[in-house]
Amino acid sequence: MSELASLNDNQYLTFILERELFALNIVSVREVLELTNITNVPRTPEFIRGVINLRGRAVPVVDLRMKFGMGRTERTVNTCIIIVEVVLDGEAAVLGALADSVQEVYEMEASQIEAAPKMGARIKTEFIRGMGKCGEQFIIILDINKVFSAEELAVVFDPGAGQGAVEPQEAQLNA
């Protein structure tokens, strides 16, 4: 799939997180699923909602809203799981990301994309690959490999902290 998709690397899947429009390059997107029951994995950071059964495999699901400090994703009829493929520690890994709703695949040339703003964005600038535009609205194009990097997803426990005190390393997002 990657070979074919690299011919169309100006195509982006747009989706909504709390009324803001985000986008992912479809190179990384495998499929979009309806929200199913997520099995919670205990003692993991809040933004890791758990795992789902994807054709026999356990796929972790991340709540992007929570990661970006926007509060927990609510279950609505439009809520979806976007299945993405990223490179994690040198290996391909499949993950799911919760989205309030998924919009459309939008084509944007490189010339239409501006650089990420240095500050003022709600989320860390290194997560943003660029800013696109759809009519009047800005689209925040995410770099999914940065969002789902090993450090960001680190599920590290401090043995001295006793029960329940689990702090993910990127807690600074909760602005």
Binding site: G56, A58, V59, L153, V155, P159, Q163
Partner: protein, 723 residues
């Protein structure tokens, strides 16, 4: 050619029809690999028992098979090379050359060379690496003279023209050839006739010299020798007779069909020696009876009595032997039952296991649906289905289980070579070779084990002189053991070497910034620091170890197998490395439980019983408590608390009593659902460090349940409460 085919050693290879002969070459490679492994093992055993004829034979046969199959599948270099090695071992077999360390070293090096040839049959690719000529030189040094294949030599010696009587589907003829003494003047040379006989099939030839007079009386132009030839051939009698057509009148010729093949197959034993000699008119029946009435062996008696010559007896015995061999070859099933085996591609097996896994899941779903429907006919069908799929699951997983002994034997060579290289004396002791593990686990365990072994040999065991100075025996002992315990396999590598110095390790760790200078650690924790990346206390880097990239890779490898590794050590006494691995990566019997809205599965192998627990007397948030179970104090953990599951528990909860590492521990859950066929699915890298969970499984309704890793859970909880 597709379908099944039989390779040179009788193994059946089943493959789909494919073009070209790649598939045969691949089959040969696999077979050769196995042969080489066996060969190495035999050679190493020979070192300890240089006179063991059986071992020598084994080595010879292996070389012989390699040569034959190599030629058949186009690996000519291997065929040519092994031919010379085989020749030397033939001499060893005959007792002409003895086993020496030099010979063994040379042969082991040859095994390596053959392995190299297997990978690169096109020698032109890297002629510099070709050790072949060098090795062959070494072997030729063992041969007293150049081996010249001279057919006429063979006539006068007791030699076989083959590996005993081959199963050629022929008959055995006894040809008694007594040429007239004047035969040379008639232009006949007996040697030619004997050669012609040999062309018809394998022969055992006996030259009778009883008529040869004393040296002073010999007439050079006369032939005093006569022969008995046992010929195994499928050629008809006429053809044998044709050979002697021209000298029919100048010799006494008897051609007797000693036994037809089918006769031999049916007969329980061939004729007795006495019968044979009487048949040949070598003795009279009365003489036979008289001799038999005494206690000595018949042949000796007759020879001593001057009734027959020793050669006649030998010749008759050989006939008997030849017949026995034909019988043995013709009826292999009558002897020890050999287990036939079949070689299949590993990914076919994996595919099969996956299918069985999926089947098990669907069967669980059917069961659930049927139970809900309450239809009794369907329920009995579902039960039958469950029994069948259980059996299928067990036997399929059983196929993947191999004894670890094969891996252990491979290490003997490593230990031998490495200790020689380092100038140390080390003995490898193994136990628990029959312990079975999943084939994938064994494969993935190979590299970590090798590294740990090397470590023990390089850093653990001291030089012989140092050992003596420390009051230890010169020869160090490295022990490899494997055993089942609970639902796990424990593999231990221990050495009686110098052990590890906790102070030095701690200092190094502080120096590398891996721990704080004032950190308080138990000895065990200190020893386990060496698994951290970048750590190495070796004073110098050897070719073997010391680069600091080994131990953390070992740990990684073992983590990937969902196992754990630990070191314990006493200075000057030695170290023990213990690796714990789950028994199987794939399907286990599980007990499904429910806590709040979440489902979990505990491996049934550790569950002993379930007991009800009422909520009074339990303090909120208290991690561990103890209950009194029939007089025994059993501690328990509330999963709800540890997993921070919201909601209130029911008034009566359940405790699942498990046995872990010799101890009984209870797990408090809301409900116990029941048995569940658990196909283990990995949780993925993200959850690798989550303690207490070893994977996930798919429930009957398609959603996932988490599998509990009870030992891990206990470790985590005890660490947390210790902090």
């Amino acid at each position: 050619m597709g379908g099944l085919f039989r390779a040179a050693d009788g193994a059946i290879h089943g493959e789909e029809a494919m073009p070209g002969d790649d598939i045969h070459r691949q089959a040969f490679r696999e077979e050769a690999d196995e042969l080489l492994t066996e060969l190495e093992a035999s050679l190493l055993e020979l070192e300890a028992q240089p006179d063991n004829a059986e071992l020598i034979n084994k080595v010879f046969r292996a070389m012989h098979t390699l040569k034959g199959s190599g030629a058949m599948f186009g690996f000519d270099d291997i065929a040519v090379f092994t031919h010379d090695v085989e020749t030397v071992f033939d001499r060893v077999r005959n007792g002409e050359i003895g086993i020496s360390k030099k010979l063994l070293d040379l042969t082991l090096a040859s095994c390596d060379h053959v392995k190299w040839l297997l990978e690169d049959p096109d020698l032109g690719a890297s002629p510099k690496m070709n050790k072949g000529p060098e090795l062959l030189e070494g072997f030729r040094a063992f041969l007293p003279a150049l081996v010249v294949e001279d057919a006429s030599e063979a006539v006068f010696a007791l030699e076989d023209t083959g590996d005993g009587v081959e199963d050629r589907g022929g008959n055995i003829y006894r040809i008694r050839f007594r040429p007239d003494p004047m035969i040379f003047s008639f232009g006949g040379n007996p040697v030619h006739f004997l050669e012609d006989l040999m062309a018809l099939g394998p022969c055992k030839t006996f030259a009778h010299l009883d008529k040869v007079p004393r040296l002073s009386d010999i007439e050079p132009a006369s032939c005093y020798v006569w022969w008995d030839v046992l010929l195994h051939t499928s050629a008809p009698r006429e053809e044998i007779q044709d050979i002697f057509t021209f000298i029919e009148d100048q010799c006494e010729l008897h051609i007797d069909l000693v036994a037809k093949r089918d006769e031999l197959e049916d007969a329980v034993t061939y004729k007795k020696l006495g019968e044979i000699l009487v048949e040949r008119a070598d003795i009279a029946p009365e003489d036979l009876e008289a001799a038999l009435s005494r206690q000595k062996r018949l042949g000796d008696i007759l020879t001593e009595a001057g009734l027959v010559t020793k050669k006649q007896v030998e010749s008759a015995l050989a006939e008997q032997q030849a017949a026995k061999e034909v019988q043995a070859k013709a009826a292999p099933a009558a002897t020890a039952p050999t287990t036939s085996s079949i070689r299949i591609a590993a990914d076919k097996l994996d595919f099969l296991v996956d299918l069985v896994g999926e089947l098990v899941i669907v069967q669980a779903q059917i069961k659930q649906a049927v139970v809900q429907s309450g239809d009794s006919f369907m329920m009995s069908l579902s039960e039958q289905l469950e029994r069948l799929s259980d059996d299928l699951r067990d036997s399929t997983l059983g196929i993947r289980m191999l004894p670890i002994g094969a891996t252990f034997s491979k290490y003997r060579r490593l230990v031998r070579d490495l200790s020689a290289e380092l100038g140390k004396e080390i003995e490898l002791v193994t136990s628990g070779e029959e312990t079975e593990l999943d084939k994938t686990v064994i494969e993935r365990l190979g590299d970590p084990l090798v590294h740990l072994l090397r470590n023990s040999i390089d850093h653990g065991v001291e030089l012989p002189a140092d050992r003596e100075a420390a009051g230890k025996p010169r020869c160090g002992v490295v022990t490899l053991s494997a055993e089942h315990s609970g639902g796990e396999v424990i593999i231990r590598i221990s050495d009686d070497g110098a052990g590890m110095n906790p102070e030095r390790i701690k200092a190094k760790a502080v120096e590398r910034g891996l721990i704080a200078a004032d950190a308080e650690l138990t000895n065990k924790e200190i020893f386990n620091l060496i698994f951290l990346p970048g750590f190495s206390t070796a004073e110098k880097v050897t070719s073997v170890s010391g680069r600091g990239v080994g131990m953390d890779v070992v740990k990684r490898g073992i983590d990937l197998l969902r196992g754990s590794v630990e070191i314990d050590s006493s200075p000057n006494k030695g170290s023990v490395i213990s690796i714990r691995l789950p028994l199987t990566l794939v399907i286990i019997n599980g007990l499904q439980v429910m806590v709040g809205d979440e489902y979990y599965v505990a491996p049934l192998s550790i569950v002993e019983e379930c007991v009800g627990l009422s909520r009074n007397g339990g303090r909120e948030g208290d991690q561990s408590q103890i209950i009194n179970l029939r007089g025994e104090s059993v501690p328990f953990i509330r999963l709800r608390d540890w997993f921070e599951i919201p909601g209130t528990p029911p008034r009566i909860e359940q405790i699942v009593i498990t046995r872990v590492e010799g101890m009984r521990v209870g797990l408090v859950v809301d409900h116990v659902i029941g048995e569940h066929q658990t196909v283990i699915k990995g949780l993925g890298r993200i959850f690798r460090d989550v303690e207490g969970l070893s994977g996930a499984t798919i429930k009957g309704d398609g959603t996932m349940a988490l599998i509990l890793d009870v030992p891990g859970l206990l470790r985590a909880i005890s660490e947390a409460s210790a902090a």
